[in-house]
């Protein structure tokens, strides 16, 4: 390559943009995570406080609450999404006009903006005029006038519902891809060897989908950890702080209380959690690879 210097030169603008928009803020947030900086009092980072911001977090009820809320949210939404996606994939596995059509309309929930989903669900669960609230009330009289979003448990359930509704289609497609890569012969061999449908699924198909299911689970976990949009537009973190996820809490610390140092430290804690999950996942994948390429 004779034009090597030129090719590096051409990369410079792209690199500068990444530097300015990603790397610099990242590094900067890392720096201020170790400083005291109340934006209402001063317009530049204050004194170095060591790990204070981090240690404070683990004594502060707001953070601990958001950690708990996030855990509940992540576990329920990941488990439900995985279960629904896998079930839908099994149903949509066969080919045919109906199945193709269903696959197409399945894309719609995923095409919707999460913020918008929050707004629409907020309306739909409004006890006065919400279509779901009213509909449920009509079918089950006991549910008439239930103040859905005013109950901590119910609003968490609805938050999970919106997220599962949003993500299941996409994850269904990933599962469909995984299912398609399971060789037909392995199932057929099992049928002949004498396995029941139940055993074929759990003993033959599912183990071969381990890789894909891991990807789905990890991706979904990471997305769920970042849950923010619907919290803003659907529950506002409430009632109380019952749906205050980590991302939403960090946002509040930074842009409502203007505590930049603390918010940065929290953001790095969240990043750390995600990194741990990713590392664990990559290691699992590497050890799985040998098996999966049969």
């Amino acid at each position: 390559m004779r034009d090597r210097p030129l090719s590096y030169l051409l990369l410079v603008p792209a690199f500068l943009i990444v530097l300015a928009t990603t790397l610099y803020p990242l590094a900067y947030s890392f720096v201020i995570a170790f400083r005291e900086w109340d934006l209402t009092k001063q317009n530049r980072p204050g004194t170095f406080v060591g790990l204070d911001n981090f240690t404070y977090a683990f004594t502060e009820p707001g953070f601990l609450n958001s950690l708990w809320v996030t855990t509940i949210f992540v576990v329920t939404s990941v488990v439900l999404t995985l279960f629904i996606a896998m079930s839908l994939a099994l149903l949509l596995r066969r080919t045919g006009r109906m199945h193709t059509f269903t696959r197409i309309i399945l894309i719609l929930p995923f095409a919707m903006s999460p913020a918008l989903i929050g707004v629409s669900y907020r309306f739909m669960f409004n006890p006065e005029f919400g279509v779901i609230a009213k509909g449920l009330g009509a079918i089950f009289p006991a549910l008439q006038g239930v103040p859905w979003l005013a109950s901590p448990d119910l609003s968490m359930a609805i938050l999970v519902l919106t997220d599962v509704w949003h993500w299941s289609p996409y994850m269904t497609f990933m599962c469909l891809g995984g299912l398609a890569s399971v060789p037909r012969e392995t199932e057929e061999a099992a049928r002949i060897d004498g396995a029941s449908g139940f055993r074929i699924f759990f003993g033959i198909v599912l183990p071969q989908m381990k890789g894909v299911l891991m990807v789905v689970a990890v991706l979904k976990t990471i997305f769920a950890l970042k849950m923010f949009d619907q919290v803003v537009t659907l529950t506002g973190g409430g009632p109380g702080n019952s749906t205050e996820t980590l991302a939403y809490f960090i946002f509040n610390v930074g842009f409502k209380w203007y505590d930049m140092g603390y918010a940065s430290a929290l953001a790095w804690i969240l990043t750390g959690i995600m990194m741990l999950i990713s590392i664990w996942y990559v290691r699992m994948l590497l050890s799985e690879r040998k098996v999966a390429t049969a």
Binding site: P183, E185, T186, E188, A189, A190, R191, I192, D193, G194, A195, S196, R199, I204, P207, Q208, K210, K290, V291, A292, T293, A294
Partner: protein, 350 residues
Amino acid sequence: MAEVKLVDVEKRYGSFLAVPKQSLTIEEGEFLVLLGPSGCGKTTTMRMIAGLEEITAGDLMIGGERVNDKPPKDRDIAMVFQNYGLYPHMTVAENIGYPLKLRGFNRQAREARVAETAEKVELGKLLKRRPSELSGGQRQRVALARAIVRTPKLFLMDEPLSNLDAKLRVTMRAELKHLHHELGVTTVYVTHDQMEAMTLASRVAVMRKGRIVQLDTPKMIYSEPANLFVASFIGSPPMNLIDGVISQGTFTAPGVNLPVSAADRGNVVLGIRPEELDLVPADGEGLFSGLLYALELTGESTLVTLREGTTVVCARGGADFDAPIGTRCALVPKAGARLHLFDKDSGERV
């Protein structure tokens, strides 16, 4: 052990007719080979018997019972898949033992059976490996072992030796033959290798475009091919097929003059096996005379190809036969040689 009966069975994929309506009875304890070129419907036929493919029309009977609607697991069969169909997440031992596990054998019985079977297919040292760590031939032997690990009513084997090297193929062939002798289980065996068919089968069904064109013992298939397709498919090197005419009791073609006992007709194909021709000196009473075109030493004999005009004839000569290319040679049928006459248009035996 059971008799398998296909009665007017037909298979369509949409509008594509893969196996046209036909009947076939596979007798109890028989080793039936489905032989035919790739794409002729062997696998489809076998999959219908296995219950993996729905039968479009007709009845399938196993052991006197109509099983069209019986799921594969209740048909008590074992099958070797063309593409192996091994379970990638299980070790070789687990793969082989899976049918036993599903049928409730305890661990001890399973391990003993698996070890014994693995020995038969020379896999004893690989029991702990996963399929991904095996060669094609080794995978195929795992598939074979998984099928023969238990004694079902019926064995279905779809090209189970296709990926083995020549030596192992011969060993496995003998192993299968012995196994069949020992257990006497009805076996349907698919192959496109005529040698395998001839050596293993009690009867061979030669298939073409989904249809069985001849069903007979290997001996009869070889000595009395029902049509040109069978004649050219069976035998290595294949039967010589010479286009010509018969007039006044003599078959004539470029370089050929052969008395035959058949009525006069044009458009006829004469077939004679290379093994049934003798090389004679060029000016002898050669019934075919031609120029030496190629010599191939196979070890125990030499394949001699002669050519005259458009006629090409191959004969099997002694291992020590040698002559320069281009030499004129002649061939005569051996005493008792079988001449086959086919109608050129229909391909049927005359």
